[in-house]
Amino acid sequence: MKPFDILKSWPVDLVTDPPARRALEMGLVSTADLLRLKVIARLQARGLPPEIGWSDLLQEAFTRVLDGSRRHPDGVPMVAFVAGIMRSLREQYWRAARRGARQSRKLLAEIEITGTPEPELLDPEPSPERRAMALQEMAALNQLFADDEPARHIIAGLYEGWTPEEICAARGISKVDYDSTRRRIRRALVRAGLRFSP
């Protein structure tokens, strides 16, 4: 049985022409681009409430591209553009949730993005819920590298906002070791990001 047939036997409704597929068919992105965006969507969905899945985030971002509500600037690679939309959606979600209180959480599709794709996005008044989720996600990220202490050191340095040089100095690691650890982190994220789950 092919994977596609297995999926068809699932007791769920499948969308066979989601916006990301249409973007692929239109030649806006390649298969490799979509794999990369899947990993990035999984990353960006960290710290969002569980009812908002990475796939929702990704498809909503492609919807904005296809319906023209987000214009693709010249010179910006499509993958970076879509990743920027996901990041904006993520941040705007939290702003909307804070304004609207918990009982009227907005759907992703209702969120209006303002500004450029890469503005300073941090909410100046984060909620305790957001903070708790961030801590949970940091723990999950560290768990992903439970057997890789140098990777955890680098992630801890990034968390503090340190530069690569500062991380190397604080942890006593060479630039070569730093680069090879970053490569391990990247590959582990891709492996985790491409795993099969809805």
Binding site: L7, L14, A156, E160
Partner: protein, 87 residues
């Protein structure tokens, strides 16, 4: 790690890791996919599940809500044999 600004710390980590992923070559991404046994080029590959084929979450949620409403409306099952009075 300081917990008081966890959301800022998480944002920094995510932004940095995202930059790394954007800079990775297509070859590296495909290489890792193949390492874990995925064949992204194959039609219907699970590598692109959630991307080119997605679950209709709204219908799934509606179905779950309907089922849970049906459960609430159904008569409660009678107690088991051990709860029955002795003959």
């Amino acid at each position: 790690m300081k917990d008081s600004f966890a959301e800022i710390g998480l944002e920094r980590v995510l932004a940095s890791l995202q930059r790394d992923l954007l800079a990775a070559s297509d070859q590296e991404i495909l290489e890792v996919a193949h390492e874990i046994g995925l064949q992204p080029g194959m039609r219907g590959s699970v590598a692109l599940f959630g991307v080119t084929l997605a679950v209709d979450v709204s219908r799934l949620k509606a179905r779950m809500a309907r089922r849970s409403a049906e459960k609430r409306g159904a008569p409660r099952p009678r107690g088991g044999a051990k709860d029955d009075p002795p003959n």
